[in-house]
Amino acid sequence: MSRILEQEELKMGINPTSMDGIVEGLSEVSCDVLVIGGGTAGPMAALKAKQKNPDATVILLEKANVKRSGAISMGMDGLNNAVIPGYATPEQYTKEITIANDGIVDQKPVLKYAENCYSIIEELDSFGIRFLKNENGDYNVKKVHHIGTYVLPMPNGDTVKKALYRQLRRARLLISNRYMATRLLVGADNRVAGVIAVNTRTAEFLVVRAKAVILCMGAAGRLGLPTSGYMFGTYENAANSGDGYAMAYHAGAKLANLECFQINPLIKDYNGPACAYVAGPFGAYTANNEGKRFIECDYWSGQMMLEFFNELQSGKGPVFLKLSHLHPDTVAEIETTLHNVERPTRGLFHEGRGTDYRKQMIEMHISEIGFCSGHSASGVYVDEFARTTVQGLYAAGDMASVPHNYMLGAFTNGAVAGTDAASYAAEVDFAPFDMADVAAEQQRVLAATKREDGIPPNQIEYKTRRLVNDYLQPPKVTRKYELAQARFAEVRDDLENRMLVRNAHELMRSLEAASILDCADMAAFSSLYRQESRWGLYHLRTDFPQKDNENWFCHVLLSKQDGQMTCEKKPVQPYVVPIADEEKDLYDKQRLRASA
């Protein structure tokens, strides 16, 4: 930094080199169950672990602050996948999710979710979170999916996080805010032993020994670069940088179907939901530049995204969300939800552009790529108890492999993980770990702080994400993917040997940049492995344009073995809810056909 500028900033009381100064330190604590991530799944996992075993020590570790962290920072406008008696059955839901995922689903965790989620809705209701009810007092569920009815609006959805936080305080859970987990500690017996974390404001280290660890660290939402060029203008909470995916990978856990990317239809530039799930049931729809419908159903699936992509390419784009034909009172009702819950700055954005839902359609576009099982299927592989392939390690929410699980899935599977982890922790002792692993991790984390000169983390991150857009955004081309891998290797060399970090805040960003690069490499590697096309736009390979059930009706599991990234096929578990042949391709029929 130039001397003059430094003096100017000091004059203003702002000094980036003294702010968030790096402090040396290492402390150690231990607990029975450690939950990492205080967004949606994490708080529920911690609550349930404590409920299951009130004597257990439960720690909730969070990179930001549990009060307002994660995808539901400002609440949520509704449940997208509520299986409510009288509207849907668990079997019906399991069938729909299986079909929406082109059959590549282990049904047991989906069915278990579907069976459990109603009791979680009732529990959330008891926390003071309200759901839309009709005049008889029954839940007022709306149809958005292709086949069944599962969407339940939340008129006071802005209160979710506060209601949840009250419960955490009541249960007297131990909460550690502003600690970023960097690596899991794994014992020689392949059991999880705890985690290494670093304070995001002081860079002091914390080792948490734990009998069981539950990863609830959210999506890899900062993988592609938003077309606005603003690095934090993502759909997911921008704090969700894929740290959980990277940590699970380095701990030797297997990750499923990472090639099934998350790509969303979003408000152009704002890069948030429009949101068809809220407006659709009132009669809003996705339209082309002629104001005409072109898709049957606005539910986010890879097949729907492919039709969206095709329309954009066809000359009938841009694509819009259309509400202008609705009654002004209806529009006002939709507006109240959209401008107060989940992403409340939507209203400000539209105001700035002079967009009035009553008069103009809302311009939409296709988002950059990410990993998120909450909407697609890419996640750390888990079974119906939320157990990963590493003993004592669990995962729930957007980063676990249960597909399309949204907020209610995070709550429900978080509860499953918390309960099972508490039982497991009661049966085992701490796994031994090597202190040399801690020292090595401290060295890795701090390497960029030891240099006098170098490349800032934001440039490393920008370049990685720009390359993700250039080479990994579907349609997937083999030659482009190979080029991406070569470019990523160059960025990795810079990250490991030339990155410069000046304070604890930049240190957090540098660690996130490493997670993002790991995720980019995993996205490329798993996509190249699956030599077919599947899940509509999510895995559309130009070199293998057809779905190939003979060779690829399986999961792809990616893991680190002997230090190398590898992929393997894993058979889909035999279905517990059978799918008839004529139902299998229902989600392939998204394009509206001209009526006779």
Binding site: M12, S73, A238
Partner: protein, 77 residues
């Protein structure tokens, strides 16, 4: 490699007249998921120190005096 500082216009604006950070209030700093707000050492008021905003609004919604305003970042406005 030499470093340079580049100007950037930040989306979160704090009204110093209303901000009570000098009395110990840290609400906006605490709730920010991206941890981008800090205290100006001279004025004792909160300000946006890092241009890494998700325009999500907890800082504005939770501020006890209505001092914080979240704008849409210029690049996507």
């Amino acid at each position: 490699m030499p470093l340079a500082s580049t100007f950037t216009t930040v989306p979160v604006v704090v009204d110093n007249e209303k901000c009570i950070a000098e009395k110990g209030c840290r609400v906006c700093i605490d709730v920010c998921p991206l941890d981008v707000l800090r205290i100006n050492e001279l004025s004792g008021k909160a300000y946006m120190a890092y241009d890494e905003c998700w325009y999500c609004m907890p800082c504005e919604a939770d501020c006890p005096t209505g001092a914080v305003k979240v704008n849409i970042p210029y690049l996507l406005r």
